[in-house]
């Protein structure tokens, strides 16, 4: 370690210690909350199912069997222990398809949020820090984006670009970044007047350093909370796109597509659309619960 990096790194050390103390306080707050624990457990199960899908799924997701079609779930009359949640109109095991579908939902949810996050935070930092004309342009773009219901815009653009997993991720990412920009910009505007930013500037820190080392880290807790909640939104949006027929463009099962196919059979086989929807509901609910409690836990004002 060279001498000129010593001073800042000592500071960083203290900051680090403070941050980890804060971190453990956050964890303690989270661990006290039964709703957050329940959400966390469900979420872990879903993630586990997605990661190990081929190993934990009882059947092959694509295997059809005409004699087994419309098998009701285990507890219903005519249920079969081999097919816990029943089979669909071509005899595919619904549980196995739900387990595989978790992969698409989670991949799309997390990746789309990463895209939104990158675009939104960058524009928010720039707008709040540079102000003036740049800020005006950025906020106008935000206003334009807010004029469209996200789903409508995503629907049109996915259709225009041709449905695929990448298209869905990019389009959902590029239609959902405004919230980050607004929040990060507002926080930067408030922070840049604070003494510690003034001090950093007086000590000769470059604008880039002020931006990345002093302003950005202070927006982390709101970014984390927003991102968590946004994953839930993105999962719902992906399901809606799949339901409307502009999904991933492949035969790999997704929850939205299962509901779309099951809808036509709702009067003869209620379990077809019901269970994939419950999978969405539980996953999104658990993310929302964790995200909401995370907000409280990261907020020093809430005890």
């Amino acid at each position: 370690m060279s001498i000129d990096t010593l001073a800042p790194s000592t500071v960083a050390l203290h900051e680090g210690a403070a941050r980890s103390a804060e971190g453990s306080r956050t964890w303690r707050k989270l661990a006290r909350n039964p709703a957050a624990i329940a959400g966390g457990v469900i979420l872990l199960v879903v993630i586990g199912a997605a990661v190990f899908a081929p190993h934990v799924a009882p059947h092959e997701a694509a295997r059809q069997s005409l004699i087994r079609r419309f098998t009701p779930p285990l507890w219903a009359h005519g249920g079969n222990t081999a097919y816990l949640l029943g089979t669909d109109q071509v005899g595919r095991d619904i549980l196995s398809r739900i387990i595989h579908g978790a992969r698409i939902s989670l991949v799309v949810g997390v990746s789309a949020v990463l895209v939104s996050l990158t675009v939104g935070v960058t524009l928010g930092l720039l707008g709040g820090f540079l102000q003036g004309r740049v800020d005006t342009v950025i906020m106008t773009v935000v206003d334009v984006m807010l004029s469209f219901p996200q789903l409508l815009l995503a629907l049109a653009f996915v259709a225009a670009l041709g449905p695929s997993l990448t298209t869905i991720i990019v389009v959902l990412g590029l239609t959902g970044w405004e919230r980050y920009t607004r929040v990060v910009r507002a926080e930067v505007l408030a922070l840049r007047e604070k003494d510690f930013v003034e001090a950093a500037r007086a000590m000769g820190a470059s604008p880039t350093r002020v931006l990345l080392r002093h302003l950005l880290p202070n927006t982390f807790s709101s970014i984390i909370v927003m991102s968590t909640l946004q994953v839930a939104q993105a999962i719902l949006a992906e399901a809606a796109l799949s339901f409307l027929g502009v999904g991933t463009g492949s035969a790999y099962p997704t929850w939205g597509q299962m509901i779309a196919l099951g809808r036509d059979f709702v009067s003869v086989a209620w379990w077809l659309p019901t269970f994939p929807g419950l999978a969405i509901l539980l996953t999104v609910l658990s993310i929302n619960l964790v995200g909401d409690r995370l907000r409280d836990a990261l907020d020093p004002r809430v005890g």
Binding site: T140, L155, A159, G277, I280
Partner: protein, 304 residues
């Protein structure tokens, strides 16, 4: 005050230009609009169409044309219906607006009383219950809620029609479905804005004067909590119109959303563009109205 109005109008025009740019981009984002419009046509036909539609001109020129046409309400002819796109889209508008307004009305009549009661009895069993229902509501996919309502009320109980828009009974399930999408957010905002004003000094003063609790809540607190509610009205409208697209598809409601989804399946882009633009226009105008209302309602701005 006048300069503020002028500034709002300028912003309205700029945002509408931006909205047209995004609408324009739908057809051009793939790089080749012709192969998007007719994926199976032979190359010779494509060349002809490209020439006829003016797709050979530079993009800025094409956008300028699009902007001029949009200003005149011309989105081209629907490929499928072989008629101008805008009248087709406008035809479906009343149905979608009726659905949206019904759902908004239902949302407000559920969210306002429950939100107030939640705030007044903060941390009670009622409040916790309401909060859980809010979580449940925000986590349900709209289309699935619709299908589950069909399963319950149309298939099992046989009380209501499965789909359509012909009778008043047919309006019940779509309205209910759309309202489940918008109520949770509204309830949350009512509750939190009530919580913010309920312990302020003037509310306490009113209580101390011996004003009855309900008058305190309705007259002193709610009026002041209404301001944040007005500001989210635009957001609510956008949310509802987005939800209407799905709801209409689930219940086969002959509205704008169903028209757009159908047009997307048929690659009928003039309809898609006209529909997308019209919906954004409504959201922009609602937001503009909200801005004006806000200026009017907020004495701090009005006086200046």
């Amino acid at each position: 005050m006048l300069t503020l109005l002028v500034r709002r109008v300028v912003r309205l025009v700029v945002v509408l230009a931006g909205v047209s740019l995004v609408t324009f981009a739908i057809l051009h984002v793939s790089g080749d609009p012709v192969s998007l419009m007719m994926p199976e046509a032979p190359e010779a036909d494509r060349v002809v169409l490209r020439q006829a539609m003016g797709f050979n001109a530079p993009l800025p020129v094409q956008f300028a044309r699009f902007l001029a046409n949009t200003a005149r309400g011309n989105f081209g002819n629907s490929f499928f219906h072989r008629a101008p796109a805008l009248p087709l889209v406008l035809d479906r508008m009343p149905t979608t607006l009726l659905l949206t307004v019904l759902a908004m009305g239902l949302s407000i009549s559920i969210a306002v009383p429950i939100g107030i009661l939640s705030a007044v009895r903060r941390n009670s069993v009622f409040d916790h219950g309401a909060t859980f229902v809010v979580f449940l509501g925000t986590s349900m996919p709209v289309f699935w809620t619709g299908i589950m309502l069909i399963l319950l009320f149309a298939v099992q109980l046989r009380l209501l029609p499965v789909s359509g828009w012909e009778s008043w009974a047919a309006l019940v399930l779509p309205t209910l479905t759309l309202a489940t999408a918008s109520t949770p957010l509204l309830l949350r905002i009512v509750r939190s804005s009530m919580l913010e004003v309920i312990n302020l000094d003037y509310v306490r003063t009113a209580r101390a004067k011996g004003v009855s609790e309900w008058i305190v809540i309705w007259h002193h607190a709610l009026v002041n909590a209404a301001l944040p509610l007005v500001t989210v009205a635009g957001l609510q409208f956008s949310l509802l119109l987005g939800g209407a697209i799905i709801t209409e598809t689930v219940f086969a409601v002959p509205g704008l959303g169903r028209l757009i989804v159908g047009a997307i399946r048929q690659l009928d882009f003039p309809i898609v563009q006209a529909g997308v633009f019209l919906i954004a226009l409504i959201v922009v105008l609602v937001n503009f109205a909200v801005d004006l209302l806000y200026i009017y309602l907020n004495p701090q701005i009005r006086v200046r």
